[in-house]
Amino acid sequence: MSLLAEKSASANGSNDIKDAVIRLAGNSQDGIQTVGGFLARLAGRSAQEVMTYMTIPSTISGGASIFQVRIGSGEVLSPGDEADFLIAFYQDSYENHLSSLREGGVCLYDSDHVEPDTSDKRFTFVGVPMTSTTVEAIGGSARDRGKNIFVLGLLTKLFELERNKLVKIIESQFKRKHESVLRNAMLAFDSGYAYETGDVLSQSYAFEPGEAVEGNRITTDGNTALTYGLLAAGVRYGAGYPITPWSSIMETLRTELPKYGGTFIQSEDELAAISSAIGFAYAGHIAVTGSSGPGLSLKMEALGYACMAELPLVIVNVQRGGPSTGLPTSVEQSDLMQAIYGSHGDSPRVILAPKDVEDCYYIAIEACRIAKKYSTPVIILTDQSLSSRIEAFPEPDISDVKEPTLDLQMQPSEFRPYPLDSQTKHAPPGTKMAEGKYPVVTGLEHDEWGHPSSNPELHQEMTNRRRDKIKQLASSLSKLEIYGENEGDVLLIGWGSTWGPIREAVDYAKRNNQKVSSIHLRHIHPMPNGIDEIIENFNKAIVVEMNDEGLYGYGQLATLLRARYSNPKILSLTKTNGLGFKISEILEGIKNA
């Protein structure tokens, strides 16, 4: 694979490296996520780009787990196809993950647990007795706890990381715990830092300095970014039911909202969660509920109600893998059709998808804006990979964050919540009505005043009205930006978290003189107008998405684009193995298209 050659040149040529992918493989209770998190925050504070990727077993405790962190001085858009360094804690971590190491890469293993096949000359093997050295350093009854921090010390030395900054991060992490915890952590860290890896790995690596960025950067995961986007947009009420990987959003909202004067309730089930959220919305607030695929299915009837009654609501769906219980801790983008067409009858709503961790923050704000302006449910389709991966990005500007207000201004006698010629406007309970005639919000078809009616013409008019307001949103969206040239051979079309790998694939293809560009949809339903004009200037348009090609050979967004534009140039590149796209897979897809 030619992609590898490019990387080895930068890593092997000198001690200075631009980019490194480090994969920590162990068990979920080894604290490797903690180490990955420390490295990510350090990179965020050091003008370096960072992206992490992790797998967690869907078991309560234990099970194999990895944390991959990619740190670079340039733009880091994906977690990396292959690792430059593999840190293997156990024999099975070594066996299962050696294939993820690039040729020429370094396998750093715990010689207390791992016996590698050192005759494999593709890799450099470095054995370190991580467990016994940690136990020795900490002493007492600590067993092997702290070997994650030992490894962190080892890596700090190896990559010439900024030791002082890292120590500060460790201190702030452990300061709330017992002082012995921090003391032990520092003993393990220093022991790792002082450990001599010997002759095999004589050189250390230093990242080229990244471009200095103005202003502060923050380092966080997608679910946290999304949660703070909701808070910044004025969400004060919500309801949910626990499901991986949505739960961390509801946990944060439950803990944070009271400080903002709000309430998040844990409901008895998904149906109750969306019902309570609709209750909050009816009461005049912008409210949130959320789930992952199975839970979104359970919410569908009530979602249809919100479309019919035209109530503003934000629904977060953190997509995971497969139908039914599927792959709860893997990534997929197979909820698109469910998000757009789920529920009965014609019930148009809005679907948005964030492209990276930073965008999780901004998409939440956009979702609230649209929900309020168009009085409609908005579904945010994020995914498992965005939910837990950590990125560093510029600290958002919060100067225009306002406290939400409740509009209970008295309504005149001619008040109509559903006027045929203008936007929906509700009078929440508590609103005085000039003539003393109060409105009933209903899921039955209704007239402009909200009175139930089964008049045939009216049902047609109201169906048009609910559809047209979403089309109005489409025409208000700005044209899509093309990444790369405006014309060429292949146009890659993506949505959601495939943004990074697609962009890297475009960069790579361009360096190899291929005429490849890309567009990315954040507003998926409605999609912005003018995509057909962009496609016209390319020979092929390949829609890259993490769902199945289905019975007719096209992924879910590809199916929609083909239905909309009837353009045979629109092709489909799909995958569903529970992992994100590798750059090489996209390049392969371009070749085979």
Binding site: N216, T219, G234, G279, A283, V401, A434, G436, T442, P452
Partner: protein, 308 residues
């Protein structure tokens, strides 16, 4: 701000509360429930704009259309979680939920249990007719064994729900039972339920004249039945008071719920405990105190600083 002025009369009257004429069949028990509701609202003089009626699906769930107040007609079985959202986020409102036995005990059974646990400030009236009326005579969760319906032509075989037992077990803090032919008693129950802080539930035996005629004659003295009102303890220390019903006792509530049909009517159980509204408000109060009463902008800024 607004140039709109209100032409509404100051005093809340039955006339002001009347909306569409009910679509219920002639003789339906639900008419009396509606009339009693108007009567209680008139008595309590709740500000008109703060009355909020919510219902699911069913004959009785049409209720919000017949009351001129802010209202919401929701989907089948989910009126309670919706009403919980309204109540928790709007302490200024008086939230009422209405529904039938199918809505409350069958499709919404889980929500009834959890709403009782959570104890939000709202009043729930279940018009129990022992049959599915809107869909024209299928077995309901309260249909007695042997009841012949379109889904059980040979008679219902599943054990019916005992609403009072279910509610006591779920932790509801105010539970009462009344009969749609007993206007005075029903009005009293409504009034006590509305004044209760927390989740109050009233089961009204409300006859479906179309599909289960005469179902509740045994509880109607005018039809030869007996309407026996629960004799509540007064606390006067007398010997006869020892025999009276202690509304704070779960055991005594269960005993009443076990009586042979038609049983007794009145308050089965009442317990003062913190409503979810109060508990969530406490959480807000302590959360804001701990974080130094910062506004949203400052809270987010502090969090971002920690993420640097």
């Amino acid at each position: 701000m607004s140039s709109v002025t209100q032409n509404e009369p100051e005093k809340l009257t039955k006339k002001a509360l009347k909306a569409d004429h009910p679509t219920w069949c002639p003789g339906c028990g639900d008419f009396t429930v509606l009339a009693c509701f108007f009567k209680v609202l008139e008595e309590l003089q709740i500000p008109h704009e703060n009355i909020c009626t919510i219902a699911g699906i069913g004959c009785s769930s049409r209720f919000p259309y017949f009351v001129n107040s802010h209202g919401l007609h929701f989907i089948h079985g989910r009126a309670l979680p919706l009403a919980t959202g309204v109540s928790l986020s709007r302490p200024d409102l008086h939230v009422f939920a209405f529904g039938g036995d199918g809505d409350g005990f069958s499709i919404g059974g889980n929500h009834l249990e959890h709403c009782a646990r959570k104890n939000p400030n709202l009043t729930y009236v279940i018009m129990d007719n022992f049959v599915y009326g809107l869909t024209k005579k299928q077995t309901s969760p309260t249909s007695p064994i042997g009841f012949q319906s379109k889904t059980d032509p040979n008679g219902a075989m599943d054990m019916p729900v005992n609403p009072m037992k279910k509610l006591v077990a779920s932790g509801a803090s105010f539970i009462a039972r009344t009969h749609s032919n007993q206007v005075k008693h029903m009005t009293e129950m409504f009034s006590r339920a509305i004044k209760h802080k927390g989740f109050s539930v009233i089961e009204v035996l409300s006859e479906c004249t179309m599909f289960y005629k005469g179902a509740f004659d045994d509880g109607n003295p005018r039809k030869g039945g007996t309407f026996e009102i629960i004799d509540e303890k007064t606390g006067d220390g007398s010997d006869e008071d020892m025999e009276r019903h202690d509304i704070s006792s779960e055991t005594e509530a269960y005993a009443l719920a076990d009586l042979q049909y038609p049983g007794k009517f009145g308050v089965f159980y009442k317990k003062e405990r913190a409503s979810k509204n109060d508990l969530e408000q406490n959480l807000i109060k302590s959360g804001q105190e701990k974080s130094g009463d910062l506004d949203a902008k400052k809270l987010i800024a502090a969090r971002f600083k920690a993420m640097r």
